[in-house]
Subunit: 353 residues, 2 copies
């Protein structure tokens, strides 16, 4: 707190990212992919023409947008890219949700959404999840300044079908509906094909999860050209070159290696299903997940105690000490070996009780 | 323009970055460094442990902040880093300048400042330059919501001494004074040593100019810990991980190679002085520059015509078609060969008239 800060900055409650420990532990706390990026990414870095770095990047990141357009079967002017999907979301909140009406958000979802609301002075209208911890698509109010939710949702893991999202879009036509698909590649149905028919649908995605590139900060949005134009206006009023040249080239290489990406996603899904069954066998309730994590509720031990006990064994998961979430642990899906180590530890801890 | 955009977004006038042409030309339009980044940067990319990219970066970019702290002789908690100095400036405007009082800015300076004002709804108070095109430090009003200017100024190139900035700080103590030192390494005196005595001084810098890393997007701010805390609050309310892991490692390598960096700056300065003399010999007025560009006013031909004629010969410089600037061309300093080519072309064009 300082006399020099802008008045509104004193009241911000910043987002708290998951810990990045420097000592070696089994790290299952920030939904990173356990597999390395596509081999083509290594080649991009190894062969990068260093002299090129003295030049500014292409401010429109055209090469990456073209690769994404081809991958998703959309036009390049329907694609926006930014410095991680966090930045894309931050731009989208400015571009579409700075209105007098409140922004409809699930009460439990990505915890950055209320932070963006704070940042821009947007009033959030929080819509409770259903009893089965699903985003309640029927409960979004008709009079809203926009709707945002993650699908699959975080940290719960549930995904709605494309048909369910289509039904939502049929009801809400006057403001932007933003579907944050950070985790879509682990079993969800993307809403991207709907952008042709719904002029108010914006879908965001990231290279941080399914493409194993959290370290390079690449996010994107896909939507009608009109909405992409709005994002461009905001970007060019904030930071014209958010993506560096190496990230753009690495992102293109990642997209080109479709087989590798699909194989990694399939491995994560298989490990998730196996982990779910094994945790349930330890008496842990696991919500159905379409993401690269599971949201798990221990029944014979407090979640906070299990978090501490796992940590003592060198396993880091995520515990949100907040009402509605504090019965659960969010556990990222690692390699099979990492998950075996986790399951053995859970067994031992629950057995020790 | 779209019904879905937030009302304020319709009125934004985004920044227009200098052109990044794809065909080969002599590119003297965006103040890029003509020399490649430090050799250590090449090694960082070639040897980068790719598997590391699946992990999120350290959100605090500690390694790079430590390197900058050592380089500038400050404490690590007096250093902030971001995705280019544009992002650092965007965060600073939010952190310090969102106030009812207008923000004092020179009428001619980095053209992104009024764009940030627009973005946040800050009223700019534009202070004219002196007759000799210098930032008029005595003319900033006492009642302001902050002061921001570039030193050396862009696009004019003039730099004030540290003593002059100290005198300014003695007069303005209640709001943040932001000195944007993007071009300081080409002959200016940095204000960084003053941060110990002035709790309201924030200095920003970039790796895009003197360190030849425009393509990697690395900017920084140095100031009292209190102000750095304010920037951190804003960052963590917008985008927690603005710098990617490769950029952090490359930035550290750049800082470590101090001799290379000094040699590149010295070469640019020598070429600038030679270029200035040669342009003056062609009848072009050149403002004294402490930056890696010169601001040059042709006397026997319209600036816009000279711009077009240079372009026709494959030489791209920057022409700002705005009142007060439209008599000038801003010419970045390239290699000696590039400047010889430019000077020959100017000779030929002015001679042809």
């Amino acid at each position: 707190m300082s006399q020099f800060w802008s008045p509104a900055v004193r009241d911000l409650e910043p987002y708290v990212p998951g810990e990045q420990p420097r000592d070696t532990v089994i790290k299952l706390n920030t939904n990173e992919n356990p597999y390395p990026p596509a081999p083509g990414v290594a080649k991009v870095l190894a062969d990068y023409p260093i002299d090129h770095l003295r030049r500014y990047p292409d401010p429109s990141s055209l090469a990456l947008r073209e690769a994404l357009a081809a991958h998703y079967g959309v036009h390049v002017n329907q694609v926006f890219v930014g410095n991680g999907s966090d930045e894309v979301l931050a731009f989208a909140f400015k571009a579409f949700f700075c209105r007098e009406q409140p922004l409809a958000v699930p009460s439990i979802s990505y915890s950055f959404y209320p932070v963006y609301c704070d940042f821009y002075g947007i009033t959030p209208h929080k819509v409770p999840l259903t009893d089965s911890f699903e985003v309640d698509l029927d409960a979004f109010p008709t009079d809203n300044g926009g709707i945002v939710f993650a699908n699959p949702n975080a940290p719960t893991g549930h995904a709605h079908s494309r048909a369910a999202i289509e039904a939502l879009l049929d009801k809400h036509t006057s403001r932007v509906v933003l579907v944050d698909e950070a985790y879509i590649d682990f079993g969800g149905e993307s809403a991207i094909p709907l952008i042709e028919r719904y002029p108010n649908l914006l879908v965001t995605g990231t290279f941080s999860k399914s493409r194993s590139l959290a370290g390079l900060r690449i996010g994107f949005a896909i939507g009608p050209a009109d909405l992409i134009d709005g994002l461009d206006r905001v970007k060019d009023s904030f930071n014209s070159y958010p993506l560096d040249s190496v990230a753009v080239a690495a992102g293109v290489a990642s997209i080109k290696d479709d087989a590798y990406y699909r194989a990694c996603c399939a491995s994560v899904i298989a490990t998730r299903e196996r982990t779910t069954a094994a945790l349930e066998a330890c008496g842990i309730e696991v919500l159905p997940s379409s993401a690269n994590f599971v949201f798990a509720r221990p029944t014979t031990i407090e979640a906070g105690m299990l978090f501490d006990a796992l940590r003592a064994r060198g396993i880091l998961v995520r515990y949100f000490n907040k009402p509605g979430l504090d019965q659960f642990l969010r556990i990222s899906i690692g390699t099979d070996d990492e998950m075996d180590y986790l399951i053995d530890a859970v067994h031992a801890i629950v057995g020790e009780k």
